[in-house]
Structures are given as C-alpha cells and as structure tokens.
C-alpha cells in the first residue's frame, strides 16, 4: 500500500476544488472585502474541476488505500455537483449583493460543501461516506444561516443543524452496527459478504439506520419535516444548492449503497423504500398545493421529487439507476433555475416571495416569465423538457420491477403536481399584474438560468446524450 501519482490524477476534480477552496481562504485572509475575486476564482476552480471530471470519465479504480473509487460513476455525479455549484455561484453573486451579504466566505462554504458531495459519490468506505456527509452538512448549516441578522435565516440554520445532527447520530450508529457485524467499513468487502450478513438482524438494523439517515438528507417522508422550514428560511440561492447538490449527493450515495453494495432487489428493504417513496410523492404534492409562499411550495415539491427518485431505488434495476441519474441531472437544472428566478424576484426583507407576486410577470419581464414557465413545465414533467424523461425512466423502472402500483401513484401525484406548477404559469401569463415586479436581472444570474433552460430542453429532446453516458456506469 502506497500512495502514487495516479491516485491524485484520478481524483483530480476533487483536488482541483480543494485547492481552490484553500486558495480562497487565503485570499479571504489576506484581502478584506474582495468577494468579487472569490467569485471569479471559485468559478474558475469549479470549471477546471469539471474539465478534469470530463477528462477522467473512464474506468473505475480504487485509490487512496481503498478509500475512494474514482471513475465513471463518481465523475458523472461530480459533473452534476459541479454544475449545481457553478449555477448556484452564478445566481448567488447578484442575489447576495442585493441582500447586502456579499462576503467571500460564501464561496468557500459552497466549495467545501461541493467537496463533501464529491467524497460521497466517490466513496468506497463508510467512513468516507460519513466524512463527506459531515463536510457537506456543516457547510450547509452555516450557509443556511448566512444572513446572520435575519431571524428566519438563523431559525433555518438551527433547525437544520439540530435535526441534521440527530440524523448524523443515527447514521453513525448504523455504520457502527454494520462495522460490528461485517468487521469492515469497506464497501467492496461488505458487498462480498452480503449473503451471510443480510441474515443477521443487527446488520439489517444498521442498514435501516443508514436508510433513515439518507432519507433525511433527501427529505423523504417521514424524515422530511425539516425541509419546508429550512428551505423557506435559508437564503434562496442556498436553498437552490441544498435542494439540488445536497440531494444529488445523498442520492448518489443511496444508489451506491442500496444498488451496488447491498443489492436488496425485490426484498422487504425495497418494499420499505417503495412505501417511503409513495408517501413522499403523495404528501409532498398534496401539501404543496396549499402553499402560498413559493419557496415553501418548492420545498414540498422537492419532497415529492425525492419520492419520484426513490421509486427508482425501490425498483432496484438498471432502468432505475439510469432513471435516478437522469432525474438528478434534470432536477438539478430545473430546480436551480426555478430558485434562481425566485432569487431574482426576491426583494430585501423577504418581499416578493408569495405566489401572487408572480402575477402578470410575463408583461413586465417576458424573458424571465418564459424561463420560469419552462422550469415549471419541466418540474411538472411535461415533454419536451428533461423532467419528463426523468419521470418516464423511474416510473418505467418501477413497472419493470413489478411495482406497478408505485408507478401509478407516481403518475397520479404528478397530475396533482401539475396543478400547482401550472398555477404559476397561469398567474404569470393570464392575469394582470400589479405592475411593481422588481426583478433586477443581473448578467451572471441570467446566464445561469438561461443555460439551465437550454440544457433542460436539450436533454429533453435528446435524452440519449445522458442515457448513454449513464449506461456506461453499470
């Protein structure tokens, strides 16, 4: 066992983001009040990491003493995380400037959270999974409370921290139990011994605790209670990052653990996941209808989307994996886009966050309204946007896994969801506005939301682009 250069090369995306983050700390330490520089540097670092991820999109190899697994799977997700981070950074700059909280630490925290996510996707050991989750979560706790003087922001951070710590406890206990029965935390080793392990109830309790911890991270019912409060209170751009990057990371590990390591296909574990998925879809979509605050509505919608993606996990077949990963890409784009526009609309002191504030947007800001409509259509799963194919693949996988009931629940709840997504479109296009929509379009944010919309359309019309990339993974 020794380190060599190849270890560093294969994990170069991780290295690039880490180096950028450290550099940013030094920048922040040496020059006070130059957040613009941090913005530029973080974009550059994230972009470089994306390039490395594309270059390293190749065979998987185990590196760093069996701790990390770098290759197709990790890099596919790295690209998702990095895109989420880049889009978030782009929409954040004008948002923070307007809210008077533009500080360089924001970018540092985003970068470290991204590193945590990348660890999660590239983990080959439960300890690394835990480290990744903690690194990501700690940064997100701080980010949620980034508006230090705002009560809602503080409330959001504290709730997220308390419940997150609670979940972490169970996660760690689960890992402990698995270690206790398997004698190792190495994922490959666990996978090998699975037949003997899965008959031990202690091991299954460990698995169950891991399940709850990840269900918490993706905000699935009944571990979802934190999501609406936290999403609503956190700065809008942070919510965008939390609901996409963090969720994608949690799903990355979910797929890694429950598809590739544990492989409980067709067992009671998958039944359980199916119930959680169904509950999330129903509850998320139904409650979202009753919301008047757009961030809260999107929070419940995010619970529902977690449910859709969990259907893919429950199905446990290759279509399910393809579906989840495709869904993650689509979901990242459309949710960052939607929250990006919410961020553009938001005024200081939480003004302009009600659904009614979008009334007649098409008259004053036709471009923004058109983009928002695209995101809403995509979230509702209307073709030709990528959201449609995401749903199509996960529901297809559920049908193939003899869980037709789950697909039926999914389709029915999707129909329900169309109501609240399309309501925004109706408000924007078919109602006369009050005439004081104060969206201040700023170039970086516009670039981010526009490119999200274009990519959504592209992946919606040519889904094979992603599907082919994903099918290499398994």
């Amino acid at each position: 066992m020794s380190l060599n250069i190849a270890d560093f090369v294969s994990s170069s995306p991780l290295m690039a983001v880490t180096a950028t983050a450290l550099l940013l700390i030094l920048v922040e330490a040496s020059r006070k009040g130059r957040p613009g520089l941090s913005f530029t540097l973080s974009m550059a670092g994230l972009f470089a990491a994306s390039v490395f991820a594309v270059v390293n999109y190749s065979d998987e190899q185990i590196v760093f003493f069996g701790m990390l697994r770098q290759g197709w799977y990790a890099n596919f997700l790295n690209l998702v995380f990095l895109s989420a981070a880049m889009l978030t950074v782009l929409v954040s700059k004008p948002y923070l400037e307007r809210q008077g909280a533009h500080r360089g630490e924001y970018y540092i925290l985003i970068l470290f959270a991204t590193i945590g996510m990348m660890f999660m996707a590239g983990a080959n050991d439960l300890i690394v999974v835990f480290l990744g989750i903690e690194l990501m979560s700690l940064c997100l706790y701080v980010l949620a409370g980034f508006f230090r003087t705002k009560d809602t922001s503080n409330e959001s951070a504290l709730k997220y921290f308390l419940l997150g710590a609670f979940a972490t406890g169970f996660l760690l206990y689960g890992i402990t139990l698995i270690y206790g029965t398997a004698g190792t935390t190495n994922l490959e080793a666990i996978s090998k011994n699975l037949p003997t392990l899965s008959s031990q109830w202690m091991f299954m309790v460990g698995v169950g605790l891991l399940l709850t911890a990840f269900a918490f991270k993706v905000a699935a019912v009944p571990f979802h209670m934190w999501a609406p409060d936290v999403y609503e209170g956190a700065p809008t751009t942070v919510t965008a990052f939390m609901s996409t990057g963090a969720k994608a990371a949690a799903f990355a590990t979910f797929v890694l653990l429950f598809h590739q390591v544990f492989q409980f296909t067709g067992s009671k574990v998958n039944d359980l996941i199916a119930y959680i998925a169904a509950a999330s879809m129903v509850l998320g979509n139904v409650i979202a209808i009753a919301q008047a605050n757009i961030k809260r509505m999107l929070a419940y919608s995010s619970i529902a989307h977690a449910g859709y993606m969990l259907s893919g996990i429950a199905a446990g077949n290759s279509e399910g994996q393809t579906g989840i990963l495709f869904y993650l890409v689509a979901y990242t784009l459309m949710n960052v886009g939607a929250f990006g526009i919410v961020g553009l609309m938001e005024k200081v002191d939480d003004q302009n966050l009600q659904l009614d504030d979008y009334t007649g947007l098409s008259q004053q800001r036709p471009f923004l309204a058109a983009l928002m409509a695209i995101f809403m259509f995509s979230l509702a799963g209307v073709p030709p946007f990528a959201g449609f194919f995401g749903k199509y693949y996960v529901f297809l996988s559920a049908v193939k896994a003899d869980m037709t009931w789950l697909a039926v629940v999914g389709v029915m709840t999707s129909l329900v969801s169309a109501y609240y997504y399309l309501r925004i479109v109706v408000l924007m296009y078919f109602r006369d506005g009050k005439g004081d929509v104060a969206a201040q379009p700023a170039i970086p944010a516009l670039v981010a939301v526009t490119s999200s919309a274009i990519l959504l359309l592209q992946f919606g019309i040519f889904p094979s682009f992603i599907v082919n990339a994903v099918q290499k993974l398994f």
């Binding site: 020794s2 380190l3 450290l22 700390i25 030094l26 922040e28 330490a29 040496s30």
Partner: protein, 118 residues
Amino acid sequence: MIEQYYPIFVMIAGGVVFGVLMGKVNEFLGPSRPTEEKSSTYESGMEPIKTARERFSIKFYMVAMLFIIFDIEVVFLYPWAVSYKQLGIQGFVTMFVFIAVLLVGYIYVWRKGALEWD
C-alpha cells in the same frame, strides 16, 4: 471469554477504592475551617444559582472552538510521531499536507482577528 476482562475489573475496582479512600482520608486528616466564601460552589465568586438564560460573549465560544480544532491536531500528530520511522517519507508528506491545510485555516483565523480578545 470473560477471563480476558479480569484485569479491567480489577482496574475499575482499584480505581473506585483508591478514589473513595483518598477523599475519606482527606476528610479525616485535613483541618476544616469554613467561611462563607469558601463554602460557595465556586470560590471565584461566580453565582451558581441564577437564570440559565444568560448570554455569554461569543468570544468564549470562539476560544473553545479554536482550542478543540487545534487540539485534535495533536491527536493525529501523536500516533504519527510514534510510528514516524515505519511510515517513512510517505508519512512525512501526508502529514505535511495535513499541517499545511490546517495552517491555511490558522492563517484565516489569525487574519480575521479571531485570536484577539478585543
């Protein structure tokens, strides 16, 4: 099976006995001249019984946090120092990276003024 743990039981028993013994010996042998100040819980003068909802200065937390962070460092450094010879140059480089990362944080803390009390 259980025999392996005998030394631990003996250790626990020894510890309890020694602790209790010392306390009692002190009680018997030492002089006892109580005053009001000496009877209070904290001789520093801090009032132990009052409302718990008191605001502490953030400075205390800062110091405590920084102490813990840099204290953990020692936990890593100690085993590394012990097995330094076996780990060789690789261990040296690894630890160097670790310290460097820590140093970046330290510089940040320092430049941001977190180490100054006022």
